[in-house]
Subunit: 663 residues, 2 copies
């Protein structure tokens, strides 16, 4: 597998060229740019917006409709208490250092990584080795530190390399120790930064006129789904397993957002919460449909051993071998893979990487990221976490709401157990205000100790138990106030807190990776600069058809209008370009916009009603009457035919060499 970013045609990808094109065509643009911009905030222009809407549309069909998921739309504003309970107030943070000299704020892990990498680079230079520009990982560092050609001991080199392979696995104090141990000074000032402190990444606000209700902008859509669990289960007529899903904005107050869509402060997420019974190995009834799907996997153990080699295997084998924990997790990894393939991601630039222990979010017990290779290195675009029963449990405990499933058992179960029974009339007066505390202590006594206790009660007429809540730490109860009996009972129901498998999609990162994976340049012949093309599949392309009249002659106008209307009725988005630029230039502009098809209206059209249809990728054309062209467009857009089939069905048109005309 390649480890540097390339265009669709395998050439090295020149990010500056691509960025210029994306800016020129308004895929996205820095927000508030006329005010100087704000780091980490971007607006989508018309093509970016349409691309995003199409990705979301396919996502909704692929996941929500395909599996009858329950879509919900919850608020972004979230009160403090909810995120305190979920753990985000305490743990949703990055480690941040401050430079004591210039006040610069540094993300600790990025800082350590940048300095060590610079030292390794300097070492290679000193050894006279070729220095490869390593891909940059957007999760990790803002800017590269400058390297000096200083040779290191071999042992030091190995130590640095091992630290870097585990960089995502260190917590704040450990990063602080690394800074001291390796004397990592900020190159800007020559001093050591302060010890890392946790910086919470949530945006804070207050709700209501009297500012008495602190709140945050949600860091994920998940919490709203968890809080509605009981209602969703009821809506689903108590059927399990089931999934909810949500598409919406989330927020992270990044310490150091980078240019572009890869680390931003406001972003669109699409998240699924699949609720599953933790008993029975988390099987999935549709797993057999995907078990043959081959994935590229980078597991936890490989990374902890300081390596990055991936393994290619079917998800069926991965679950069988225990590389992936269970069928439900495996099912969603495969479904994520199929989704990314459907929208046009380059499958040779996709891997699934397992999180290491310290890297995982506080709520997760296992997590795999779908990562895509871009000019910024391997970028996490989808996370697929097993959140176990964490969230439902903490919210249920905090609020007392029954976030559980009550299941009728197929076979009643017979339970045999020791029961402790309180004689309220005696027990109450005996302990007065402490009665509840003592009762709780009694009921907390585990089964295995109760038989012995029953014997003591029988023998002594009283028992003595530990009660942590009392000043004395002990309480004595006589048999007039308590009895301990062995009972048999039949149970028809079972109650459990579901576990949650959560595929979570960062739409902006997917969109950006898709752009890079779809980009290539038409070879320039004769010294002209290369012309960019975005080869989006028709389903995700922002606009499907460009309609170009030969010139802006009034005669063509009625034809353009009816053609647009007919395409609209077919549900195919189109745009007319009747500007005065040459046809070739107009097609070039739309190659950059990723428009897959072009229709030319010329004088021949006025005579015999025929139109030409152009394919973006090959630039070849066919010519036929309107109904045939419309049929061809529809089957290309819905994916039932490809261009090769169309060229066999309709006569080729060689009238104009449009791409020469573009010069």
């Amino acid at each position: 597998m390649t480890t540097t970013a390339t265009t669709l045609t395998g050439q090295p990808l020149d990010k500056a060229v691509l960025d210029g094109m994306l800016r020129r065509r308004m895929f996205y643009t820095p927000s508030f740019e006329i005010y100087g911009g704000v780091g980490g905030l971007y607006d989508y222009g018309p093509p970016g917006c349409a691309l995003q809407a199409n990705i979301i549309d396919i996502w909704r069909k692929h996941f929500i409709l395909e599996e009858d998921m329950l879509e919900v739309d919850c608020t972004v504003l979230t009160p403090h208490e909810v995120l305190k309970t979920s753990g985000h107030v305490d743990k949703f943070a990055d480690w941040m250092c401050k430079d004591p000299k210039n006040g610069e704020i540094l993300r600790a892990d990025h800082f350590v990584e940048a300095i060590l990498e610079a030292r390794l680079k300097g070492d290679k230079e000193a050894r006279g080795e070729k220095v490869e520009e390593k891909e940059e990982d957007p999760k990790k560092k803002k800017k590269k530190a400058k390297s000096e050609a200083i040779k290191l001991d071999d042992a030091v080199v190995q130590e640095y390399e091992e630290v870097l392979a585990r960089i995502d696995n260190y917590d704040g104090p450990e990063l602080g120790e690394l800074i001291k141990k390796y004397d990592l000074k900020n190159p800007a000032t020559g001093v050591l930064p302060s010890d890392p402190v946790a910086f919470n990444l949530m945006f804070q606000t207050s709700i209501g006129p009297s500012s008495n209700l602190p709140g945050y902008l949600r860091p994920e859509t998940a919490q709203g789904q968890f809080l509605n669990f009981a209602k969703l289960l009821e809506f689903n007529q108590s059927g399990m397993p089931f999934a909810s899903a949500s598409i919406g904005k989330s927020y992270r107050n990044e310490i150091s957002p980078r240019a572009g869509l890869l680390r931003v402060r406001e972003f669109l997420m699409a998240e699924i919460e699949h609720f599953v019974d933790p008993e029975g190995g988390k099987k999935h009834s549709r797993f057999h449909e995907v078990e043959g799907v081959e994935l590229v996997l980078l597991d936890r153990d490989t990374q902890l051993s300081g390596k990055t080699e991936t393994k290619k295997m079917t998800i069926g084998d991965a679950v069988k071998n225990g590389v992936v924990d269970n069928e439900t997790l495996g099912y969603f990894l495969a479904r994520i893979h199929l989704f990314l393939k459907k929208i046009g991601i380059d499958m040779s630039k996709l891997r699934f990487r397992q999180h290491m222990a310290n890297e995982m979010a506080h709520y997760a017990c296992d997590c795999w990221d779908a990562e895509m290779l871009t000019t910024s290195g391997w970028v996490e675009c989808v996370g697929c976490a097993d959140r176990s029963a964490y969230d439902l449990s903490v919210h249920a405990k905090k609020t007392g709401a029954p976030l559980i499933v009550r299941e009728q058992l197929a076979e009643p179960r017979i339970i045999e157990e020791w029961q402790i029974l309180i004689e309220k009339k005696k027990f109450g007066p005996l302990f007065k205000k402490d009665a509840k505390t003592v009762e709780e202590a009694l009921q907390a006594i585990p089964q295995e100790k109760r038989e012995q206790l029953a014997k003591e009660l029988e023998a002594n007429g009283k028992i003595s138990i530990d009660v942590a809540g009392l000043a004395s730490g002990k309480a004595e109860v006589g048999k007039e106030a308590v009895s301990i009996e062995f009972v048999k009972r039949t149970v028809n129901h079972r109650e459990y807190t579901p576990n949650v498998i959560e595929p979570s999609f960062g739409i902006g990162r997917i969109l950006y990776s898709l752009i890079e994976h779809s980009f290539w340049s038409r070879g320039s012949d004769g010294g002209d600069e290369a012309r960019g093309v975005l080869s989006f599949p028709p389903t995700v392309a922002p606009t499907k058809v460009l309609i170009v009249p030969l010139s802006n002659n009034e005669q063509f106008k009625p034809q353009l209008k009816t053609l647009s209307q007919k395409l609209r009725r077919l549900g195919v988005s189109s745009r007319v370009d009747d500007s005065s630029a040459s046809i070739g230039k107009r097609y070039s502009r739309n190659d950059e916009l990723g428009t897959p098809l072009g229709v030319t209206v010329d004088f021949q059209t006025l005579k015999d009603g025929t139109l030409t249809l152009r394919d973006r990728d090959s630039t070849t054309q066919v010519r036929a009457e309107e109904t045939k062209i419309l049929d061809a467009i529809q089957s290309l857009v819905d994916g039932s035919k490809n261009w090769e089939q169309i060229t066999k069905e309709l006569p080729k048109f060689e009238g104009q060499e449009l791409d020469v005309a573009a010069r």
Copy 2:
């Protein structure tokens, strides 16, 4: 026109019954309810979410695709400076009073209105008149004040009524005077509330780790569109007029949010900014397509005279008579009307009301609201404002960005004018650091004064001008440093700041009004309680088809699966209900969810492949083979046929009286 809310079948609408149903079917639910909820925040459950998505989908086709609008997606986070310039920091506020005794916070206009209405009601009671429950306006008050039967003078009654008709037109100090003049005490405490103070309705936060960039959650999507104007114009290849559009969340920190979707703190908006040349009367090239559309209008003058009578007229006449200012504004009012009709709003419960002067937002020079009649009175659901050149001008002035259109003139214009020319070499040394200030004062001298000034310069060899920026307030310039000449020049271009017509849709309010307008109860016979139905048009209905097997017999399973798949391929959303409830009960549940069609799979299906198809509104059924049923479903869902046509084409089925079975 009726002024109280009714069901679709004209019965009085029992809001408690409807609310219970919406809650039971999870159309929406208070956010964070297990934590006690937060005022003004609601989550949409699966049917609400699907209904919202369908409304948005129709909106996108009706507006964006139909008119090639440029859709953008801008950030919610907005830095302080942008909203300071737009006027929102200073003016986006409601007037708020505080009760000095219990600290209660009151919205001043709602408070005044509630007390005066209570007094009028008490007067009617004292006069022995029948007291009609007046509809409640959600914009205005949180709760009704209690009335006491006290008779008022006739003159006082008239005065109160006039105040109430103009209640939206008072500012804070005026409301404060009314409170004092009429001695409006808070019934809860018996004391006068404090003087009204402005409370800004924006949620505040800060951006970045060092908290040095204050920002807000946007109160409207519009600002992002304005700031991108220059890029959008370029994207549109400089063509004018054009429109941008945006669908996204906006936020208002309401003083007193009410229960339900009508006044909330986080809401989805769909906004269009149509940029038009202010010269030439703001004509619209497609106005002729809508000029015959009849609207119900309540204009500004009628309201200021204390009345609420509406006029019905075509938008063509309204523009001709000057009731609506111009064609572009009129075009969008008609398009809004057509959109609301398309999604199923009851046209007899829709009116367009013009804002009064003080009621208008600080940026608007004219505004009409589409209001819908609900159990909460007339509710503003769409605003259509003429923002003139306000926003583009203030942002251009603040940032220096050229938010203008530069237009090539069809005919060059000859301009004759007096020009003031500076001789830099002399002028600079003469005024030193004040040179720029003096030059600006010179260039600000209007044309009509320049001829006289030229004569003075000629006569005296110098002129004296007022310069506000100087301590002396005056400056003297000699002819060696300045000249004033009459020149003729040919101009090929014209520059102007476009005006903006802004249709702005509150999707939550539209959705809620649509629910009320679609609701009715099937007559109960035999003492059973009435059963609710939501008669959504198929295009907006959350789910189009309910698939019900006769029982949960395993034999039906394969049939259910293939039927679902076939519907999915047709793009028709469906749900299987194979619960053990009776078919009638399952259909009843889906009547409440607004599912327009139902398909039953029974033993006959297994024999001959026929299915029954049920119409929600009439509960009549047809029976035919699968392909014919699928064709019928598709044509009903895309609107090409109605149920009456289907019943003529396919044999009626009377096998089961499902609605009796529902009991």
